[in-house]
Symmetry: C2
Subunit: 466 residues, 2 copies
């Protein structure tokens, strides 16, 4: 019988060396000149997965960067099938001069592996592959059927993921998606994400005249495009911090008492958040804590605004046009396709007839949510408790990712097993992976496969959704 | 005794030829490469003024472009002294390709002189000089003492006028300033400006964090600089279109019944204003007509706004900074020095404590106003009635100029005698001067000097202000 603790202890240095070799490949998906490196990274990972005992293939959608598919399906038809999701591409590394050691020369110091991609997300794929390698080596089998889908475009917004899922949904079909691309709230607070926010994003263009007008000649009698825009945008939220668009909250699933209790138990210090962000206050929707507002509630933000004269000095114009980028984070079950027209209608209803309006949508990301009492979450929580020695807390992630697209395409819920920490400097210089957390990740992955295989969990996972 | 009608008829073509030679000089004050032309224009005008019988001198403040001073002071100490104000510099002429004939090759067609500066302002100085030339030639004297101050920087915002006035106030001292740089509302509507608006102009900078923040990670719990700015600016006016800054209207001199009756009698067509400006409505302060609002009432305009992301596509930031240019047209007796701190205080009072604010003032222009019943206005109205065959209407100009600075420096009121028309394309390609109006201008100037000399007017003008 596999002894994952002994494996991790025996192989600790070798595992980090193996991960380091992979992290040395600068698989920056947003840089077209690194396309060869992204391919090299995919092939390197495919090699690691083959060595672990998975049947592996490098695949890409038309025009997309290569993803790595892998599978071990020997657990039988009664056992659930788990698809592990993550990515092998990384963020750009600039500004390079701010790195203490070069981003693609992985270096261990202070108990951490320092490299671009160490946490996000190579280390988190690697702990899954390592767990499987040990289980297959020790037992000759896994307790569940396992598939991997490790994409190469996540840091570029997964532009071809829908095409990829359309093409390979059958192959990726599963009973549960195990997302290995999230984190924990603190080193001593084992925790599991249960939801991601969605996103819709717009550009709003207003026009009040064919050209700017002279404020001396016409000031007092003609509309001002910027004045119209600021009036519109100032009405986006009410005094209580709630979005005023009619119907906006209709589909919001309220935070449950258990979720709120979990979030209240997280070690959150408002002063620390203020210090980290440099803000002087934490304003937001009445009736919710900052943590709840940052992840469990809808938000609206003006991301950019421009119009009229912005040079040095003065220009006495009444601007003819004004523009803004406006975006909304969504929570389950707010659907982009329902909300986008609500926003557009709200804009058109609020601006006077003499204002020409254009609302352009940049497309949306759907929110994802897996209830706390989903058998996958309960099983993953047990696995984390075993690996970290402490019951985990559930929380929500405020950002947006492809998880819901995965979930919809594969007809399975997402469970999030990740070990990144807020201080890991993901997307920033000096990204790192806390090795103690990585090793616990190897154990948690192995335990998770065991937990998912337990009869009552397996039965629940195998039951048709609904 | 001078017969100004006969003079104008006899010299009609010669006057236009003389004006055309002057207009051929491209005295564009905003173009440093044209500094030589501005000087040439000043010297050319000085020659015309000398020929008319004025003692003339070209003067400039330190670092300023040349102005032309002239005087004839033979009317005696009981006669009032009138200082004619205008400018000999012109706007840039681009886009050149839109001119039917080149801007500095003055051409007569359709009863108009087409040239840059024909109306604004060489033609309007020239009719004054021509009137004086005839009066002095015919009578050997003028009914009043006359001075000229024709500056060379008006189209660049009169940057050194305060220095000039400080240096030459004694020399320019007078009982009345006769501004020769305004217009009439229509060809068949003789009319006189009685007021100019003032102007104050600000840049407002808000900061809510040291750097932009990720809207996924922090959205819902941190302030958004643009949201703070739009909320602030949306509160600048109330539902009735009134500026909400406490104390803003305290010093506003109400439009008199006579002024309102005059403005109501002007041929104003809202549809034509909409057509000219291309706007779909004429919104503004409740209780006032568009004409009143465009000239006789305070206004507030956001002239520019910027912050956050304005590129192609999307960027999910919560912006840390937001900026706006905000300006106000003022009416008598609103004083920049009193209102600037009111605006700054309003901004600081309205933004929450967690927002860092900077309010930068670009300095102000004071409003100017000469009551309709000022003896200078009544006399000028009589002169215009004689020249145009119809009693003029009084109205206000919405723009801002150096008139109040002149008035304060010289301790005299401004009376506005101008013949420009809205269709003269001032500041635009194909600027023109309607010759019929120009000729009437010569007559009106001559009559105005007569009217100012009438004993009851002269006595009133010579009385100490107060």
């Amino acid at each position: 019988m596999a002894d994952i603790d002994a494996f991790v202890q025996a192989e600790a240095d070798a595992l980090v060396r193996e991960l380091s070799e992979w992290c040395a490949i600068p698989s920056i998906s947003s840089d077209p000149e690194r396309a060869g490196d992204v391919r090299r990274s995919a092939e390197h990972l495919a090699g690691l997965m083959e060595a672990a005992g998975l049947d592996t293939e490098v695949l890409a959608a038309d025009g997309g960067l290569p993803a790595v598919y892998g599978e071990w399906l020997g657990a039988g038809t009664d056992a659930p099938t788990i698809t592990v999701y993550g990515h092998h591409d990384v963020q750009p590394a600039d500004p390079l001069e701010e790195w203490a050691t070069p981003p693609f020369e992985p270096t261990v110091r202070d108990g951490c592996l320092h490299a671009r991609g160490a946490s996000d997300d190579k280390g988190q794929i690697h702990f899954q592959v390592s767990a499987i390698r040990h289980l297959l080596a020790a037992d000759g089998r896994l307790p569940v059927n396992v598939k991997f889908f490790v994409e190469g475009e996540e840091e570029s917004g997964s532009p071809t993921i829908d095409a990829f899922l359309g093409e390979h949904a059958d192959r990726l079909a599963c009973d549960l998606i195990l997302v290995s691309d999230t984190g924990m709230v603190a080193e001593d607070v084992p925790s599991l994400v249960t939801a991601m926010r969605g996103l819709i994003y717009f550009q709003v263009d207003l026009r009040t005249a064919p050209a700017d007008l002279h404020s001396g000649s016409f000031g007092g009698a003609v509309p001002n495009a910027i004045a119209e825009l600021v009036t519109l945008l100032a009405g986006l939220k009410d005094e209580a911090g709630r979005i005023t668009i009619p119907g906006w909250y209709d589909d919001v699933v309220a935070l449950t008492d258990e979720e709120r209790a979990n979030m209240a138990a997280l070690p959150f210090d408002p002063d620390q958040l203020k210090a980290v962000t440099g803000v002087g206050a934490l304003p937001g929707e009445d009736g919710y804590t900052p943590l709840e507002r940052m992840s469990g509630r809808p938000t609206a933000d003006v991301n950019g605004i421009w119009g009229g004269f912005s040079g040095v000095g003065t220009k006495t114009i009444i601007p003819a046009t004004a523009h803004a980028k406006v975006s909304f984070r969504l929570v389950a079950d707010q659907e982009p396709a329902r909300l986008e027209p609500l926003f557009e209608r709200w804009v058109r209803d609020r601006v006077p007839d003499h204002v020409e309006v254009s609302v352009r949508s940049y497309g949306g990301v759907k929110p994802a949510r897996t209830p706390l009492d989903h058998p996958g979450n309960r099983a993953a929580a047990k696995a984390v408790a075993r690996a970290f020695g402490k019951d985990p807390l559930f929380y929500r992630e405020g950002g947006s990712g492809p998880e819901r697209a995965l979930s919809d395409a594969l007809g399975a819920a997402c469970v999030y097993l990740g070990v990144m920490l807020p201080e890991d400097r993901v997307h920033a210089p000096n990204e790192r992976l806390l090795l103690a957390h990585y090793y616990r990740g190897v154990r948690a992955a192995a335990y998770a496969f065991e937990e998912f295989a337990k009869p009552e969990v397996a039965t629940a996972l195998r039951a048709p959704a609904g």
